[in-house]
Amino acid sequence: MSAQRADRTNPANPKSPANPIDLSVFSAAVHSIAEEMGAALRRTALSPNIKERRDYSCAVFDGQGRVIAMGDHMPVHLGSMPMSVEAAIAAIDFAPGDMAILNDPFAGGTHLPDITLVLPVFLAGAARPAFYVANRAHHADVGGRFAGSMGPATSIFEEGIRIPPVLLVRGGEVDRGVLDLILSNVRTPRERKGDLDAQMGACRVGERRVLELAGKCGLEKMYALIEELLDYSERLVRAELRTMPAGEWSAEDWMDSDGVTDEPLRIRARLRVDKDAGPEAGALDVDFAGSSPQVAGSVNAVRAITLSACFYVLRCLLGDDAPATAGILRPLTLHTPQGSIVDARFPAAVAGGNVETSQRIVDVLLRALGAAIPERVPAASAGTMSNLAIGGADPRTGNGSGEAFTYYETTAGGMGARRGLDGISGVQTHMTNSLNTPIEALEYAYPFRVRRYAYRYGSGGEGQFRGGDGLVREIELLADAEMTLLADRRRFRPYGLAGGEDGAAGKTWLTRAESGERIELEGKCSVPLKKGDVLRLETPGGGGWGKAVDSDQ
């Protein structure tokens, strides 16, 4: 299957060379629409995951569903937002005032907690939408077997409620039936309702601003500018690809296991850079053939995630301020084997595909690029989000009876070293960028005492430039609870590049209060904890870059 080559003929496209000024102004204007949607969502959402950790994305699309602007939000949503909009367009015949909702990983979603809303923007009197706006937010719970909906499931049915693209709003009216059906299937309906309201509000902000811009700019001109913007993004990528040597590079890397069996899982990618002369010069063909078949555990990634990883890598090659549009993907042809962990099919469990496998896909892409242009890519970063969830009852609340709590957090690791620069220590890399929860906030909210939060010195790989160190976090439980860990890089360490050493593997230790016994835990596990037990999480270090120079010389 190859990446969709969008239809590039538009009647409004005058085929004139881009006007660099209008283009610059338009690009900024449409990007600020996505940013404003994000600000509205952040301001109005109820849950800390959206407000504080900022796990959401907003984007603007043209009438063909091609993304023309995305806010600087979550990288893992880059390529998958467009697929949500495509899925909504394919499933629904939109009328003015409608808004679609979806989270089905097999129909435009990525994993169930990420719920996407899509609003078609109609111009007065038009029969078809001229634009779409969409936003996606990570909801703290969408039902299923495990609180937080990120547990070690073995099929999608255990992971929560699955919403195919359906109308949540019809002709301006919220469909109570659909909303109630969703809210009846989640653990925290009030919070979900608040967050969904915020998402609907953010879509309307986007709609208003797109209409304003179309009014100011004129539709004809706006269509022409959209073509120019997409062409511009494409030109940027092709220009970038042409600076690389032509050729073919392959790489592979491994996931420790799926948490159900001990079997390591392979991800393999073959990159081919084409730089023949002509307007299509500078093309990238990526093939994931040879990657493991999908598995019982939740580390299956749907194709949207694999596309996001490619999008992310291209965007990073371009630099921080290149606009994220559909044009970036034009020079890319992506092949993913159906039914593999990089293109999982129904009814695979996928919660971990979004947070774990997505990172490994980036690692593999960078490793292949590292063979071609080692000076322009970093060595492997931590490669796991170290997702930790702890649930139980807090004895400090409910007049001693203990109210239920669910804690979820990801912990950063070391960044891979770059030519000329050591890797950064203890920082979120690649597909995520969420903030940590302050220790003082955490101890107010949960029956925990944090005993250590520090760099894991020496965990970064040695090299001419050293990989960043991972982190150490020790949590003492002040009440009985159940913990679920979804982490990787316990067996297969973050690789070094250009002769640099690998980073240290991640580790998790549990010290039992009763026996004083210290046990090493698997990367993916669910374990009952007792009051007084101490959990110690050590996240992986980044790989080094270049051969270490002997200090004696």
Partner: protein, 680 residues
Amino acid sequence: MRIAIDTGGTFTDCVCLENGVLRVAKIFSTPADPAEAVLEGVRQLGAGDDLELRHGATLERRHGATLELRHGTTVGTNTMLERTGARVAFVTTAGFEDTIAIGRQARQKLYDWFAPAPVCLVARELRFGVPERVSAEGELLRAPTEQELAALVEAIRASGAESVAISLLFSFARPQTEQRVEQALRALGIPVSASHKILPEFREYERASTTVVNAYLARRMSHYLERLEERIAERHAKGRVHVMQSSGGIIPASVAAREPVRTVLSGPAGGVVGACRVAQWAGIERIIGFDMGGTSTDVFLARDAASGAERTRESIVAGVPIGVPMLDIHTAGAGGGSLARFDAGGMLRVGPESAGADPGPICFGRGTQATVTDANLLLGRLDAESFLGGGVHLDRERTERLMHEQKGALASVEEFAAGILGVVETQMEKAIRVISVERGHDPRDFTLVAFGGGGPLHACALAAALRIPRVLVPALPGALSAVGILLADTVRDYSRTVMLPGEAIGNLDDALNELMGRGAEEFLAEGAAAVAERSLDLRYRGQGFELNVRFDPRNPARSVEAFHRLHQQRYGIADPARPVEIVNLRVRMSAAGESYHPRPRALTPGDGSAAQYSERPVYFEGGIRPARFFKRDLLVPGDVIQGPAMITEYTAATLVPPGCKAEVDAFGNLAIAVGEGVNP
């Protein structure tokens, strides 16, 4: 006598009020020793030592001082930007030494593999742990022994640290251990900053970072202010120095020396207060401030000019988070010196790279790459004769030649120049959207107050793009900051995290009174009477954000009702059934500054023709139009000028595009009505 002095990059502006009239002096800054220019300003305005005789009596009664020097200083900002602060030792709970470097573990730039490591002002070998712990409930779990404290003191002594910051976990809930550590470290004879004093609020990283910045600045700032006070005292026996805080309130130099973290944006704060005051006199309530300089542009918003601009407790200065209240100034990395270029995809980009002072724009003679200033010159929007009083020669021929070479595929240099302005104005528009639209304010309800070298030139274009109906270019734009400093209130902010359930709302008196008592004492020591404003930060339990609401001790429950209402208003939802948490207590003590209302002058209807000195072609969207040029200092209240026109003055020029109408108001401000559909 009260004199306000604002140190800027080029000029040090000095103002004082004499018999109800503002007097202004402009002096070249002395970057090597900023105090030189300050003292010169005092001399010029104060007419030397007879000051005490002429003005002593009235002020002596109020302040026990004869000269009150109010100062906006860049010492803090520059120390941060140039990274020339002290070698700071950081002391925290053992096990958490690295938290000052880890921060919030997020990266600054999402798509940059070559981003440098984020700034940490504390080197690894200067991070120290104390074996101690306090629980979230404020219970002492472990205290350090005397031997452990002694060992800490020796370790820090041996480290060669020049300043110390202490921030222990939950020290705001139970400060005793932190106080013991502070006491022990005093033996070192170096400045000690303790978090329970600087920012007694939860969230350990932001508190620690704020405390570290304080320690980082302490030596330089206290040295600078003490020297300044000494030198003032040499000539004015009872002279006193006060300093502008980043929050827009004044504090005594002794407090600023102890808590310099409160002054990192001392300079810009003056401009914000000044803009608000000018708007207030002109009867304008809601303003968006727009201060465009050479390398960057500051924007801010005030919902009520009389009570000042919005403040924030989440600032980042030179890459470092600071949690004490500051004016919410948003900075865009584009200004007059921003460089224009075409990127690999052929798109025109402007900034963030800047030509700076050296080499400067092409038209100044040394620069070779087109800047915003060059574009303005080419389009006839700069008046070479009046630019900085004609003191800088603007080379139009050179500009045209070099820009012609850089215009790429564009048809003409004019198109290139117009494009540069279009792109830079889009960036400014974006910055204003961030502080208005993104925070729930509609720009159409505001007046754009433009100042700084480039503000008045671009204001009408921006206003039109944002549909802001009115622009105000204040009188005395060059002294706006100093005026703001002169007239600002004296303000001290106190706070403490308590983290109590909403039901405790009736039991906050003791804690609030303690904060107020501390404030009253400090104000009394300065001989001023202060008013206290109590407020609470509340949130729904489980939320990560707090909302600040007023607290009325006679009716505490009203705060909770106000919280639900505010939540509804801000976020569109409220849930009175949901449990509320009391997070922080706040007390803001303030003493009103000098009251000054300029006398409105009579309006004489006129067309400004007496001030017109030229008519020249100026480029506007849609082509070149003849525009009349006016000298601002020759205009009188009541003059009305229809665009297209340029109104020039020493430090700036105001562009009035076709369709806009400028009127000189009773205070000498230019009030410009921006017509619908203006295409500047």
